[in-house]
Symmetry: C2
Subunit: 225 residues, 2 copies
DNA sequence: GTCTATAATCCGATAGAC
DNA sequence: GTCTATCGGATTATAGAC
């Protein structure tokens, strides 16, 4: 622990965010009551409404705290790659590294809640919750536009909808990678040895690039375009 | 004999299962109240406890109704492949087809709720809900044991933990494939054209096999054994 | 089997003292 | 900022009439 130049404005506020992040990840939004959150954060029940206004506003605060930095890091990484390429298309493997590698770096940080947040984000991605989906779509808009555009330029011979599907599949693989493999070991009846975190990134990247570069599907006789 | 000009209704129990399946998929377990379920099923609130005993028992009934058939179909497909192979190892692509293709066939059945169920199953897979995880682990035990074993024999040069991770990644990709790609189009600001369902299977299979057959990851300088 | 009514508990939010 | 107390509404589950 290093000495910090200034203490946070409200440590109660941060404790609530930490507790909410973990409990939302474990039990979902509807399954996590404000009493559970404030209890875990050693705070008073009324503190949530004082600091955030409502439970929905707390949910947004939990995401905003880390999403901005994550997506800015992704955009910075892509900026760097495009500057190095100097007008040429960036290699697909570098684009995938910039998007998913940045996320894995955050997920590798278990001490400061990065892993918890990435698991929450993965879980939330497919939750058809109205206002959370809207919020995430806005947060992701620029990043998705830039990275899909880079992949379109990097793979000019591949149909764009095919690229979007494969990007979607890659998100699913990353989501499960972050969630952990305990379920596979558990259902297979095998003991789950603790995975070396540094192995996750090359492991996942090999799979993602293999899938992205796979031969295009054959839709059968009907497809002629 | 009476003709049936009245409600073409199935049993109340089945209507409850159908409504619960859909609402659990849309709002999660905790986000779905029994009032919402019985309201959508045109049933009385007390009917859930009469037919199932409790909300948790209803959740298990929703899964049991379809999981047994799905996993039996998977095992039957693998039995067929192993019989054809006659002692030789089954090709990895056939094993992947048997496991994930069977799931996609159920997901392609939108009229009888198969698609709804597969979306629910995908959503539930990573939900760290205690009793649901335990239940699913038991349901999956035999299938996972058989299919992982088949992959181990089909890929004798690949470390077993690597195969398990790639199987886990494939589950994630399938999960997102079934959940739909609307989110990608939405965050990219593009209109989402309705996808031809028959294209999903070859699309996903190309990606899965590309990932499964990808070069093994290089864990870096530390590995020297 | 279906229904009404209600018990017992939990929820998010807020008023107001300090 | 933190706390107690509480409101109004929602939840699961059950008792009992028909």
């Amino acid at each position: 622990m290093s000495t910090e130049p200034h203490l946070p404005q409200s440590e109660t506020r941060d404790r609530i965010l930490d507790a909410a992040e973990r409990l939302f990840m474990e039990h979902g939004f509807e399954g996590t009551s404000m009493r559970l959150i404030t209890g875990a954060a050693n705070a008073n029940l009324a503190a949530v409404n004082y600091h955030f206004g409502s439970k929905d506003a707390l949910i947004q605060a939990v995401f905003r705290r880390r999403m901005t930095a994550l997506n800015e890091a992704r955009l910075a990484a892509l900026d760097r790659l495009e500057a190095e390429a100097g007008g040429e298309a960036v290699k697909p493997s570098r684009i995938v590294e910039a998007f998913f590698g940045t996320a894995l770096e955050l997920a590798a940080d278990a001490e400061h809640g990065g892993n918890t947040f990435m698991r929450l984000l993965s879980r939330t991605y497919n939750e058809p919750n109205a206002f959370v989906r809207q919020f995430l779509a806005e947060e992701y808009a620029e990043v998705m536009d830039r990275f899909l555009g880079a992949l379109f330029r990097a793979l000019p011979g591949v149909p764009r909808d095919e690229i979007m599907w494969r990007f979607h599949y890659m998100m699913g693989a990353m989501s499960f990678a972050i969630a952990g493999i305990e379920s596979v070991y558990a259902t297979a009846g095998l003991p789950c040895t603790e995975e070396e975190p540094s192995r996750m990134r090359p492991r996942l990247m090999s799979f993602l690039l293999g899938g992205l570069r796979a031969p295009l599907p054959d839709f059968g006789a009907a497809a002629t375009d």
